[in-house]
Symmetry: C3
Subunit: 384 residues, 3 copies
């Protein structure tokens, strides 16, 4: 063990390793065999082909896979990518998924099903594979697009969307919006009027439905979601090239946060990199705002403790959550949990070692961020 | 003592602990007894009630109080909040204030009196309690609102405001503007014309005066303040939910900074979190710009060294100051000074330990930032 | 050696110290003798006189010079500024330049010649002084301004500019634009039409040519540069007071990056402070985007490892480069390389020490960032 980790109090390491995490925003694992090309294209947020003069393994997430996933598959840490992928192929995807999800120590998954859901496992597949509960988070835009795809006229859209949303979210634990991708967060925070919605729906449906990016409709989805009353997740910051990062700063949500405050609906800011300090300030100021630094942890690998540290500055500890945002290779599900544990051990361990916090406080905060806050917000009941 | 602090050169610790700081932006301490509810609501910038499912003690500032203030009141570090508050009540507010202000080692307070001044001590109360000089910093908007409250017509406003400002600031050391709260820093940097001011004053006074948030009047206050010629403080960044953080980025002040440069008036950017690097760049580029990272230190507790480190990147060391921005519980006055000292010891100590700086350079910079720069800017004379 | 550097694996230190760096964006060294005033004015990005109440030596770059350059000139580390400057004068500028450039261990310079080129050495002077190859990077705006200065009518401008650009860049390795200084990066990303260009050129030339800041012409220069096909460097972020930092955020380039993607021209984001994380996200998302954290390293001195660490979060390691952006005193050329080496040793050494990376991975990434990526992008051939 390294010089630095030697300084982490053993009691903290034991407590954090034993935590049954709630991964409050995750997608399904891929059950398919993956070629090297396919694998490399799934360990980046970029949707571009990996240029021939580089390998995606030469990145923080690549090195983290070779370091941390390799031992789970029975290899030495820091093995070569070829060796890793050969071992992966030999074990088969089922076994790889079982090993990695099992090792993650996640106790409850909240699975967002709206992104290329046919290529990956759904909540029940995840529950079966991991042997722990997996509930659904429903993506608002996907519901609306399904309504359009099944045929709907403009005047009926609002009603049909509400009906479908209530139906689809009957057993769901939360909702999610990707307005940041589809328009940016710089939208008018007020709920649109009924006529405006019908008019916008008319334009959208006349153009064939499909990708919903009209800001009036996006606002309508969000406000209908707030009426539905389940915790509402927002994509924030970092993502694939489809997102304009300048328009995904969470500070743009201030108007909506204030208007939504009386509804009592928890608003959960996801990922947030590189705006984690902005998210922390909102969580400090507004009782209805929560956030996590998922996604960023996987992609920053050896630097993930720095992100976790920035997330523990001004937000009250009851407002910070854990997620992996993993999609596809189960390596991302495992790393999300594993890198978070290592980062919390280092960051909180340093607070203890420097005499700033007690060990009990460190264990308490790890438990709040890793599981308790999500259990309270999503009403998951006590730890199974 | 922790492993890390062991590495801080003893000479640096001694020098920093002995520094009689100038707290160049602070408010009065509260002389009232505080219930747990009242206390928790004063150790956050949020103006919302603390939700029943959390306590404000589960935060960096909460843990910092239990760690650092508890021993000043004769308790063990990391005690329970209940124990802390019970001890606080038993000692009585006067004694608590005396203990905490005494332990802060502040040698000179510059007290900004414009925020809920009737609930807290003024400069003379602070001077008496702490046994050190306390001078005033006058808030421009408060002066203007008093002029309106006493009855004034539009045409007379500019003259009456100037008169009142000169009178109120006769012995003051500085002025302060909260244009960031009232409008945002994205205002026209040019001084408004006399007619514009009269017209805007007419609208404002006709509406009954009160909260001044008209951008023409805010600009007029700032430009009158520049004529007055005292160092001018700007609220920047982090604050209560009233501030739109996107509009409190100090980079928005570039136009004003350039126009104000010929006046020779020092412009002091306060708090700055999360924009401390932006403030540092302005202090690097413009001779009339200074900044501090007060407020952020208290609320980031165990992470405050990270903020101090970011404030010591590109700004010349003659341009960085210390403040606590404390308001209310004397815990915040003590912590502001104490966390700054610890952070400087760690950050500068690491520079020395890594062989980058000499011990003499570290002591010199601590002394500049903690006291000398403020003494020069505010013309406070030599250390008492 | 310090406690921290003791932890850096010796193999990594040896490998990094031995790397013949490619400084992919640098200006010439000054061959003139420099008074203290001139020297202090050259070790800041500010173009204002240094105020009489401070010295520029009281800054990170000042302390870095006294720490790291002093031994190269035969002095003790942390000497007094007076002693340093006296030694410098005694040795003479030629010898100082030879010593500092020699000690930098740079193996190839790409010299941008467009800024006050008559006051400093050109590529051949740099090659001669350092004894290593030095190629040119041509500044687009400087070429256009030369075309205007030699007399040109509006209709002929586009043709004359293209002709001159091809001629001037015959042996160049790259192009550079300072649109961030001249307008901001918030320009329309589309190439302007021929008529628009002629009209804008007409306005500019009628006004006497000179400083080119018309956004239509700046876009025209960039798109002509993309046609020329050499790697294209962009000033980003931090610079002298001429730049509006709010308008130099690299995220503003998203539209241009996407439109330029089919050209296959590498786009290189320079400096980037304080937006290095934004640059990393663009380099992650887009195959045609690269970046460095030059300039910021010199000016943040003892804090430069923090910047390097932030640059190694989400970008693939094949997309990060090294530069010094030095201009004038050879101290800046030396420090750019030296502080980068120290920072890489610390940051990568910590990854190894913490068990996150293997030593081989650390050496590989140092070599990619320090030299190999630039050799590939600029087609410099194998290491001499």
């Amino acid at each position: 063990m390294s010089a630095e980790l030697d300084l982490v109090p053993a009691g903290l390491v034991r407590a954090v390793e034993a935590l049954p995490l709630v991964d409050h925003h995750v997608h399904g694992a891929s059950a398919k065999d993956l070629s090297r090309k396919a694998f490399e294209e799934m360990i980046t947020e970029s949707d571009r082909p990996v240029p021939e003069w580089m390998t995606q393994f030469d990145s923080q997430v690549g090195y983290a896979i070779l370091r941390h996933c390799a031992p789970v598959l029975g290899l030495e840490p820091h093995c070569a990518p070829e060796e890793y992928l050969a071992r992966r192929a030999r074990l088969g995807t089922d076994e790889v998924n079982r090993l990695l999800l099992g090792a993650s120590g996640v106790g409850h998954f909240l699975v967002e099903t709206g992104y290329r859901g046919d290529e990956i496992l759904g909540p029940s597949g995840m529950a079966e594979l991991a042997g722990v509960p997996a509930d659904e988070v429903v993506r608002l835009e996907a519901v609306a697009e399904r309504v359009a795809a099944t045929g709907c006229d403009a005047a009926a859209f609002a009603g049909r969307f509400a009906e479908e949303l209530w139906e689809r979210s009957r057993t769901a634990r939360g909702l999610k919006t990707i307005a940041a991708y589809r328009h940016g967060l710089d939208f008018d925070p007020a709920p649109p009027g009924r006529e405006e919605v019908t008019e916008a729906a008319g334009r959208w449906l006349a153009a064939g439905g499909g990708r919903l990016d009209d800001p009036v409709l996006l606002r309508h989805l969000i406000w209908t979601g707030l009426e539905r009353g389940l915790p509402l997740q927002f994509h924030i910051g970092y993502g694939d090239p489809d997102v304009d990062l300048r328009r995904s700063d969470p500070l743009l949500l201030r108007g909506l946060i204030e208007r939504a405050e009386p509804t009592g609906v928890p608003l959960l800011l996801l990922h947030c990199y590189p705006y984690q300090r902005h998210a922390g300030l909102l969580a400090h100021a507004y009782p209805n705002v929560y956030f996590d630094v998922g996604l960023g942890l996987n992609y920053s690998g050896a630097r993930s403790a720095a992100l976790v540290a920035e997330s523990l500055e001004v937000a009250p500890f009851a407002k910070v959550l854990f997620s992996s945002d993993a999609w596809g290779p189960a390596e991302l599900h495992y790393l999300g949990a594993h890198l978070w544990r290592r980062a919390m051990e280092r960051v909180l361990g340093a607070f203890v070692d420097e005499g700033e916090w007690s060990l009990a406080q460190a264990v308490r905060v790890a438990s709040m961020v890793g599981a308790e806050n999500a259990r309270r917000v999503y009403d998951l009941g006590a730890d199974a």
